[in-house]
Amino acid sequence: MLIIRPKQASPDYSLRWRLLLGLLLTSLTVLIGRAVYLQALDKQFLKHQGDLRHVGIMPIPAHRGRITDRHGELLAVSSPVKSIWVNPKEFLKAQIPAEKIRQLAAQVGLSRDEVMSRIGNDEERAFVYLKRKMNPEQADTATGLGIPGVYAEREYKRYYPTGEVAAHLVGLTNIDGKGQEGMELAHDGSLRGIDGAWRAVRDGKRRIIERTEELRQPIPGRDLALSIDARLQYIAHRELKSAVAQHRARSGSLVMLDSRTGEVLIMANQPAFNPNSRGKVSPDVSRNRAMTDLFEPGSTMKPFAVACALELGLAQPNTIVDTNGGTMYIGRNVVKDVHSYGVMDVAKILQKSSNVGTSKIALKVPPRKFWVFYHNFGFGQPLETGYPGEARGRLSDYHGWSAFEQATLSFGYGVSTSPLQLARAYTVLANDGVMPMVNLTRLDQGGSAHRILSTKTASSIRGMLERVVSKEGTALQAAVPGYRVAGKTGTVKKLGARGYTSSRYHAVFAGMAPASNPRLVMVVMIDEPSAGDYYGGVVAAPVFSRVMQEALRVLNIAPDAPLIAARQDSPA
């Protein structure tokens, strides 16, 4: 029997099959494509994003260069210290027992409340300094307490071994080790060095879990050798301090230059400050007055006015000048001397510091030539030492000069200078007419210099200035036993709110030794001595004498004068 089964139409699933296969293939392709995209094309971006979340670049501070004096004695040095910082996020989450916090507080030298208020209660913050620049051992003990979120960071602290002695010139750094003032600022670029870096891996809570590699080594800063001599600087600091105290002066400055090289051997100021204590230092105290402050040089300018007339042949050392009983009328103005000296030669005019005599000599010179002369001596001209805040001084243009103005300029009013500029001008007289560039850093080879004056005029003026430091002159107290000293005093009326005052003075002395062949030039300026004496020859000259005497001995410069008994009883 034939059984015919109805042919069952087998459903055709092949379409579904293909559809499924197609779908699977498509999704596979998409997935592979995406994977390729992520792995190959977008890798940079993603890796960067991952690194941002987990890899940190931590700085390694570079060692700041040292500052030394010309013989390598340390003036500023960076020593390693540690700073404790806290991650408040971790710290607050960890619920640290009070006892532990007390221990931590004791280690960092703060009270418990101070610690807590520094950390605050903002759980989103991830960094706060707890204590900066502390003893590394103490910092290690503090981190050794095992409190979560407390870390130590290596830093450097600037230390100034000589304290206030050279504080003004050397300057300061801020707490982050950047130069703020003085030479620290002027040479910050080379002192600073370049920080290094290392790569750290962090976990999801931003804790450092692995220190992977050093990206670059820190490059230490270069050392800086200043031109000053720490031994002389100390002597000057001591003497200036005692003089300012003795005369109850507002301030004082002292600079000494090597007259041949123009290197600054001493730069001292009063009042001084201790650069190691980071209290508030007012600019009145921290200013390097020897370079930033201007004053009218008064009679210390007279040698230049006389040199000008001598150089141009308009006067000779033995030219006779009548000082008219100490009074001279120029238009409606009057120039006066303290005493009437009568008829004198040029040398005696300097010796007695006669304003009338100097004016008469100066007025022989045409204004333009006079101006060029002062200009060449560096008045109103920058020192170009690169020192921040260096004053340039002021010398007005000769076009507006009246005869009276030229006369006042000849005895040092109407022109302003910093003590260092005045010292620079005196190097010309000391150095046979050649002015070296002023240098604050040690010179290892000769610097540049310009001739300003003929050798003959320079040595002639020097001879006259030697007579100032005598019994007949104004500066007997500047004498140094065993040495010939040349110099000039200045007692300058200060400019007040209503013209020149009659009770406030600058006492100045500028001089050089040994006069036969000068090596050292020094300017001493005492501002407003108010204990009675105010003459440059009484207030500033003794400081000059004491500092110069020791400097000549320390530098081993041979005496050039026989010891005269009369000079012995001059106050040494």
Binding site: P161, E550, P559, L563
Partner: protein, 65 residues
Amino acid sequence: MKYRTRLLFSEVQRQQQMNEAYDEELAQLQFEQNKWSERERIEHAAQSQLGMSLPESTAIISITP
């Protein structure tokens, strides 16, 4: 390779820590040396403890070559 890197790295770390420790010690010693050699202190010691004084200028004989 990785193991060796880690080993060397830890050695570098150890040496650096030693270096840091020496730096700290050096700074400490420099500080002490400076404190002891302060001019004011030396001057005071020379005058009061050792009875030294600067020679009078009459007591100095200079010899010129």
